[in-house]
Symmetry: C2
Subunit: 474 residues, 2 copies
């Protein structure tokens, strides 16, 4: 049953199902034209016709004579019709990488995932914190905790902010259930369906999944080695009047680039002229060898909202994020967190995190981790060089290498081949709003040590080079 055409039809069907599931398309919306969607998906128009016909037969969409296909109003909720195929047949979209990575069994290698291997994390400190927590007051173990989250952790964070030049008062900070949830709360608070949101191109792929759930329009600005392309940024502000800009400045995901002081200043000036609010996601800040410019510090938490979490440096299992911003916004965000989560983040989680952060071992752990990652970045770049895969730049820190493939290679096709050999890659276009990063892959250098990864990549590239779109698993 491994018929190439059938698989491609299935991919087009899955892509439309995901658009409906994610509400990018809702009941009554017109589907992309056959010609345009064929180009987007890199398939022939007849494949799209076949896919649309099958979806119409299923009742998900409906043809209207002479005017194309529309999402059906079936009386069923728009999102009830999510893809139900085995996940590997899904379109290679932002959800593909998340779900392949999160749900992979331990035998699967994940050079495309967004976190460190479990044994690179400060687990001895976590184990000590757990034993300490076993002796904590009943209230820490049993109660919801305050709406803004643990006062101890908030004090620790305010101290860290001050070291970075961000003076924030206690009413400008709240803890959240995770960094992603922090951005989600902000989007709920600031955005309405149909608003435009500016993102970097490329940007962290889950920004796109999240923004689609908010039914907003995304527009991208090319990212350069020193930050967003400011000419494009300014003309986009003028032409499209985005409400919000979401970015990472310290170590940009996926490129590893760092915002320059000049770009930071020009960016804030443009934001001020156009009344643009900025979410600065500083989740990788602790991976920097030395601090780079922070929009939040320049702006003084006026139009910049800073968010972060401890998932990348401390534990992704003990979820907790934070939001720092204007006091009146924080007050509204606290209400919204009560309405949608009831209470702040788990006192058990925040107590564990505060305990590890307060211990002297955390800074030492991060120092060693930065050195280990610097070596891993160089080793990985050296491994990829013979394949003609080259970093777009060598980042100052962190675990990502954003790499360009040799001419003629398509990263989504490589990802589909690699997953059949139990390797999850992160193909460029899942990060790109404009879908112009098909020649890139993001590597997580801490997850790429196994030599089978380069071996499978080599085979997949050769097979693609030979023009054969094969299922290379056995």
């Amino acid at each position: 049953m491994k018929d190439g055409e059938l698989t491609r039809t299935g991919e087009v069907m899955a892509a439309i199902r995901m658009k409906v599931a994610s509400r990018a398309l809702v009941s009554g919306d017109r589907l992309p034209s056959i010609r345009r969607f064929a180009a987007t998906m890199g398939v022939s128009p007849s494949t799209v016709v076949e896919a649309y016909d099958r979806l119409a037969a299923e009742g998900l969409i409906r043809a209207r004579r002479g005017s194309g296909f529309y999402v059906a109003g079936t009386g069923m909720p728009a999102m009830a019709l999510a893809a139900t195929e085995p996940s590997r047949d899904r379109a290679v979209d932002p959800f593909w990488v998340s779900r392949q990575s999160l749900d992979a069994d331990p035998a699967v290698m994940k050079p495309g995932c967004g976190w460190l291997p479990a044994d690179w994390m400060p687990n001895p400190a976590l184990r000590r914190a757990l034993r300490t927590l076993a002796r904590a007051d009943d209230a820490v173990l049993a109660d919801y905790g305050s709406t803004r989250g643990s006062p101890l952790l908030r004090r620790l964070l305010l101290g860290r902010f001050a070291e970075e030049g961000i003076e924030a008062s206690p009413d400008q900070l709240m803890l959240t259930a995770s960094g992603t949830q922090a951005i989600d709360l902000i989007c709920r608070f600031l955005l309405r369906p149909g608003d435009t949101v500016l993102v970097d191109d490329p940007c962290y792929f889950n920004f796109q999944a999240l923004l689609r759930a908010h039914q907003v329009r995304m527009t991208g600005v090319p990212y350069t080695p020193s930050g967003p392309d400011m000419a494009a940024f300014e003309s986009t502000l003028t032409a499209e009047r985005p409400r919000l800009y979401i970015t990472n400045s310290a170590l940009h995901n996926p490129t590893g680039a760092t915002l320059s002081p000049q770009t930071a200043y020009r960016l804030l000036s443009a934001a001020s002229a156009h009344d643009l609010t900025i979410v600065e996601d500083d989740i990788f800040a602790d991976f920097e060898p030395d601090p780079s410019p922070r929009l939040a510090a320049l702006d003084g938490l006026n139009r910049v909202i800073r968010i972060g979490s401890f998932s990348k440096t401390l534990s992704a299992s003990i979820r907790c994020g934070f939001i720092a911003g204007r006091a009146d916004w924080i007050e509204g965000l606290v209400d919204l967190q009560v309405a949608t989560c009831f209470g702040g983040p788990s006192p058990v989680a925040t107590t564990l995190i505060a305990n590890v952060l307060a211990g002297g071992g955390y800074r030492k752990h991060m120092e060693e981790l930065r050195q280990r990652l610097a070596r891993a970045r160089h080793d990985m770049a050296a491994c990829l060089e013979p394949l003609g895969i080259r970093p777009w730049l060598m980042p100052r820190g962190g675990f990502y290498l954003w790499c360009r493939l040799p001419a003629g290679q398509d990263s989504a096709a490589l990802a589909r081949m690699a997953v059949e050999e139990n390797i999850v890659l992160a193909p460029g276009n899942v990060f790109s709003v404009s879908q112009t990063a098909g020649a890139f892959l993001r590597f997580n250098v801490a997850q790429s040590g196994d030599p089978r990864i380069v071996a499978v990549l080599t085979r997949a590239m050769n097979s693609q080079h030979a023009g054969k779109v094969l299922a290379i698993g056995k």
Copy 2:
């Protein structure tokens, strides 16, 4: 500065600010008419005029000649203008109870809160689970975990469902970050702004806060001792075509009532005839002395989605909820959870919960707790009897008593007086969409043991009976 009129003006202002903060009113919306809002708030029209004038002076709203007041389009986000007064001056609305309860310092008594005292929870078992967790694999401590959450906890839950007659396959279940977040995900998945949602009147107050965040219309059906008033339920389905019905069936919050088999059957038939989806929030199920009818069991998880959590019985600090429903809906909900939270619930949290649930101690703890609560319900009813405060019914289980006040008493006024004496009450109208429960208070019998509570209630009722709206704190 404790001028009664000034306080009432402030309350009207706070109520409008909350409507804006919660998006019940957004930029360009017309404010309620002066006459109508005066009636709603129980104040004179001149108080509302004064409040609207002050809000207009602040720029939050704008008068249009001859056509009333409108929410201003200030270029600032609608929700940026949340109440910034000290929280006690806020309107007595659903957020009031949540935030007074969650942020109360330990000296404050909370007969209005929605959870057990910390020392009633199974803390010894939690402490053992924490020590066991300190020896867990690195992956449990450090990784995000799978998108549906801990397989072990899911297996345990499926086993418990089977005991209740709910046969669910593994793809019909996912874990979430909390019970509230479970409902939030479902609302995002099924609802669009402007949809109508049916709730019980009275219902759990945070359903209202949550539904307002989704910008949907709420409609209430009176709750009777055996479930919703079915004649009203059926005529509402016909007249208003709600998309969703959210309810608790086992031990209804706030009334403590239990759905009868006849009502359950008739309710499901009506839902089927009108293609209504039902969220059955079973968070109090383990407090039942013996199992009552479950919509999810009758319906077989077809149009009923079951949600729950462990916050009331095990720990509110270790947050984790679940959703059981149609497999295709769960698939879409998992994507939505990835987009908005990244990953499923914390493996640390789910491992702790699974460990406690799997231990034989949990059932024994719940048995003792049920007996302790039965005594506390009867003791509390006996304490309130001399004040003329009487339970609407005596619940089969749980920690709530929904009580009617003697004639002439207003529960919101009592709550405002009590909070000045460090007692948080839950006044009836925060539970009532139709605002017809002003003569009720919900008592949490496990949080009401302190004799000062009845003493303060007595004083406040006497002062109200004497027609004096006084600030009785010093």
